[in-house]
Structures are given as structure tokens and as C-alpha cells.
């Protein structure tokens, strides 16, 4: 069973899991701060991928420039998304309405609506079909190590995931804006009372989360070699599953669960047809919700 092919599958699953993790971090950050689900997060991932591919097709710059450009696009997307789909519903600033059910459902639906509009507009502009990434820029060069063959994309994804995870930890625990993000996540009203600009902190959270999502998008586009308008949906849902499994506000938990999901899907392709293994994540979601409603790594939390 543990032959080279199986290990190869595990490696592939691990890199898919890292991608889910990058998306899940953004989800978890936003959920932790606002207690709302950002359904448009998958679209940020898609927009990042498209922005990168458009830049590559036009100018073919080096990878670092592409990533920097995509980060900027992600930041703008996160800012716009917050202004458009979340800010209008934060009419009142007290804690009860910041975390109220009505607010949660209104933003859930508005982010869903924004995600539909963005996806359909991208489909109108670029067409619904898969759009290939120029071959020179694809990160698919094989790297042979012993019996195993990796692709450069896997190393890039791994490197980027580690770098971004470390950067996030630095941002959250070593900078002032990180401190205010943690404060707002803990208690929005209290944070406001001690003089933290809640609005700015929420925007910062969206920008950070969206930058990570957008970078994940372009890396995946280069790794798989194509982009398409609905590419954000499945990874978005799986990242959400990882967040729920990890216990909602725990970023390390979400990362571990995302990697676990990626591995589980890769292993499942050993035993199941492709279509069925896509559904593994949903099965895990239901199992977690039923048996571990507080998540695998989460502390105590409100009733689910």
C-alpha cells in the first residue's frame, strides 16, 4: 500500500490541502472578527487567479511580480467587498447588533449575491470555458527526487503557505493592527471603548484575508494550468468545512483540518471514482457537525 504511487498521492493531497488552508485562513479571520460567513471568499480566490493570468498573458513578468500584483488585487477586492456587502449592514455599532442573527443572515445573503454577480460578470467578460495559463508560466516542471516526482508548483505552494502562515502569525501577534484585530475578534464593543477604530480593523481583516485567498488562487492557477469562473466554489466550500472542523475561530485548527481534507481527498481517489471523492469534504462536514459541534480544535463556543 505504501508504494511510491501512494506517497505521490499523499504529496499531491498535501499541496491541495495547503491551498485549502490558505483560503481557510481568510475565512477564519473574517469569521473570528465579524462572526459572519463571507460567501464571496471563493470569488476573491477566483478574481486573484484571473488577475494573475491576465497579467501573465499581457506582460509575462517574473513570478514574484505576479504574486505582488495579485496581492494588490486581493487587497482591493477585500476592501471593495467589505464596503459593498458588509458595511451597509453594520448600521448600528453596539455589540448586540454586531453579532446579531439578522446581521449575520443579511451579510450572508449579500455576500452570496455579490459572489453571484462577480462570478457571472467574470464569465461574461472572459467566457465560461477553462482559460489556459501560458505554458511558460505554468509551475508544472517535474522535479525528480528518488522515486517520487514533484512539480515546482508544489514547492511554490508549500513555500508560499509557510511564508504566509508565518507572516500572519507575525501580523497578529507582533503588530498593532494585529493587536486590534485580535481585540475586535474578542469583544468588538470593548475594543471600541478602548479607542480602537473598529471599522478600520474590520477592513484590515478583510484585506489580509482576501490577499491570502487571491494568492492561493493564482498559485493554484499556475499549478493546474487553467482558470475558470466557477473555480472558487468548491475550494471555498472546502475551506469553509476546514474552518468548521477546526473550531471556527482557531486558525491553526483550520490549517490542520484543511491539510487533512486535502490528504483525505487524495487517499479517497485510490478507492473511489473522481466524482465521489469530491464529496468526501461534505461527508466530513456533516460528521463534524454531528459529533463534534464545537470543532476538533475549538474551545467552548456558543450553541451551534
Amino acid at each position: 500500500m505504501f508504494d511510491a504511487f501512494f506517497v505521490q498521492q499523499l504529496v499531491n493531497g498535501f499541496s491541495v490541502g495547503l491551498v485549502y488552508a490558505l483560503i481557510a485562513i481568510g475565512f477564519t479571520l473574517i469569521f473570528g472578527v465579524l462572526n459572519v460567513v463571507n460567501f464571496a471568499h471563493g470569488e476573491v480566490y477566483m478574481v486573484g487567479a484571473y488577475a494573475g493570468v491576465v497579467l501573465i498573458t499581457a506582460l509575462a513578468p517574473p513570478l514574484v511580480a505576479v504574486v505582488l500584483f495579485v496581492m494588490a488585487v486581493g487587497a482591493v477586492a477585500g476592501f471593495g467587498l467589505e464596503r459593498l456587502a458588509f458595511k451597509p449592514f453594520r448600521r448600528f455599532q453596539d455589540e448586540a447588533s454586531l453579532k446579531s442573527k439578522a446581521m449575520r443572515e443579511a451579510t450572508l445573503l449579500s455576500s452570496l449575491a455579490v459572489s453571484i454577480i462577480v462570478r457571472e460578470v467574470v464569465e461574461k467578460v472572459f467566457g465560461g470555458a477553462m482559460r489556459p495559463v501560458p505554458f511558460e508560466s505554468q509551475l508544472t516542471d517535474p522535479v525528480q527526487i528518488g522515486e517520487l516526482s514533484f512539480s515546482t508548483g508544489q514547492f511554490v505552494i508549500f513555500g508560499a503557505a509557510v511564508a504566509m502562515f508565518a507572516g500572519l502569525q507575525f501580523l497578529l501577534y507582533r503588530t498593532r493592527i494585529g493587536l486590534s484585530i485580535r481585540a475586535v475578534a474578542n469583544n468588538p464593543l470593548g475594543a471600541k471603548y478602548v479607542g480602537i477604530d473598529t471599522d478600520r480593523t474590520i477592513i484590515a481583516t478583510f484585506v489580509v484575508g482576501s490577499v491570502m485567498g487571491a494568492v492561493a488562487g493564482i498559485l493554484v492557477a499556475l499549478y493546474y494550468g487553467s482558470v475558470f469562473p466557477t473555480m472558487g466554489f468548491a475550494p471555498g466550500v472546502k475551506a469553509f468545512v476546514a474552518m468548521v472542523m477546526g473550531g471556527l475561530s482557531s486558525i491553526p485548527g483550520a490549517v490542520i483540518c484543511a491539510i487533512f481534507l486535502g490528504l483525505a481527498e487524495a487517499v479517497a481517489t485510490e478507492f473511489l471514482a473522481q466524482g465521489w471523492s469530491e464529496m468526501i469534504a461534505y461527508g466530513f462536514l456533516l460528521l463534524t457537525l454531528i459529533f463534534f459541534p464545537t470543532g476538533l480544535f475549538g474551545g467552548a463556543r456558543d450553541r451551534v
Partner: protein, 335 residues
Amino acid sequence: MSKRILPLALPLVVALAVLVLVPALLQASGSGYLFRVSITAMIFAILAASLNFITGVAGLLSLGHAAFYGIGAYAAALLATQHGVPFLLTIPLAGVAAAIGGVLVALPTMRLVSIYFAVATLGMGEIIHGTLLNWVDFTRGPMGIPAIPSFKVFGLDLSGNLGSYLVVAVVMLASLWVLHRLTHSYYGNALRALREDDQCADSMGIDVVRLKGEVFAIACFFAGVAGALWAHTTGYISPNDFRFGESILVLAMIVVGGLGSLPGAVIGAVLLIVLPEALRPVGDVRMIVVGCVMFFSILLLPKGLFGEVSALNLVRSSFGGGWKAGTARQSIGWR
């Protein structure tokens, strides 16, 4: 005397409009395309009304409603094509199949609330869609099921435009009437209590778990009926008709119409089916329109076009005298 007749006025007007006026106009226009659009609008009216029963009235945000619609459609299609069951039986059987599916979904997700419930139903919807897509031996997978017979009953051929329209219209009116009676009753009051605060409702002696299961069974029954109508009127179904996008479309309908409002759900369904068709000359912008309408209605009309309060007032004043203030000038509530 007039008090007894008046309550029947509105339902009669609606029934006359749907069963006589609209088909007469459509027949006069002689356009099969317009018939097709109206049939689709009526099927989605059933779907929206049934989702409204779960999401609007009972407050359980469901993101997987298209899956039950799909179960109903596949049940009807398979029964009709492989076993030759007539449509009078396939429609209720499709409803029952979807209701069983709904209860099976509701059982494990019963204790989840708000967003967790929404995501669990999303997951369930994707699992059911994946099953329809991948269980090729049973559902023919992505190839879909062609040649589903149209409506025929007792040698009477109802497969023409007018016949299909009338069958769908009658089923829609019956479904809406049942949902109306359930929504605007003590039973509906219990569901609204569940929506506002399920722990409080529980402590008041409302059996929350049983109620959630029943709500799912009833709403999924009607979603299944809508699926059966869809299968019989289009003659061909494939898993693509029952994706996440359709769930969102139905959700957008009830959000636009007003969560918790039955007339609102019907208005939303008609609007979101007819509007994109009317905009067809501009280009195929169906989902963009849906997204924009949904976004602006949440932003500008959070209560919807025909909000729950207006709907309840309308029902109070126009349907049945039982809700009027009694002789003791005391409101006697909903029956």
C-alpha cells in the same frame, strides 16, 4: 351575508386569473414560448413557496433546496420512463420521495442552528447533486433522462401547451393553498415562534425537534412535486438542473419577495423568472440580474417586496372570518 362571501373573493379572483384569464391571453397570443415561461414561473412559485415554509416561516436557512427538487424530478422521471406510472401517481410519489429525503437530511442536522444549519444543508445538497451525477447505473449520470412522457390522463391528452399549463396551474394552486393553510394557522404560529427563538419555544412546550422534521417533510414534499412537474413538462432532466445555483435562485426569490411571506414568495418567483426572460434581448444576463435584484433588495428593501407583516394583514383581512376580532372585541388569534 357579505361577511361570508367577502373572504372568498380574493382566492376566487386569484383562481380565475390563473386558470382562465392568463391561459386565455396566452392562447390568444399563440406563443409556445410564453406558455413555457409561465409554466416555469408557476413551478418556481411552488418551489419558492416551499422554501419559504422552511426558511421564511420556520427560520431554517436552507441552501440545498434544489436537491429535493431534483429528487422529485428524478423520482417522477424514473417512475414514468421505466415503470410507466401515470402522472397522477408520479407527482405525489415524487413528493413522497423528496419528503423522505428531507426527513433523512433533517434528522442529523436537527440540532444545528443558523449558519451551521445553512452550511449543513449546502453540504447535503452537494452530496445529493453528486449522487445524481455519479450514480450512473441508476440516474444515467450527466446524460440525464430523456423522453419523459407528458401529461396524459384517462385517454385525455394534456400534453399541449394549454393542457400542461392547466395541470401545472391546478397543482400550483393546490400546493399554495395547503401551504397557506399551514402557514396561517396555529401551526404556523408555532413555526414562527421556533424561528424567533427555538430555545424559548421549546420551554413553552413546543416540540422543536418534531416540528423541524415536519417542516422539512412538508416543504420537501412540495419541492418534489415541483420537480415532478418540471420533469413532465420539459421531458428531459439532467443533474445540471438541480445545482447549487438553483438553490440560490429560489432563495433569492423568497428574499426579494419577503422572507416569511407566502404571496411574496410567489411574487418573487414570477419576478425572477419573467425579468431575465424580458431582458433576453439585452443578452443572457440571467444570473447577473438575479444577483443584482437579490443584493439591492437586501440593501434597500430588507423586508422584501411584500413583507411578512403585510402578508399576514392581507390574510387576516381577506381569508376567512375566523381571525377577526370576536364579539368580546378580543382577537382570538389564528386557526
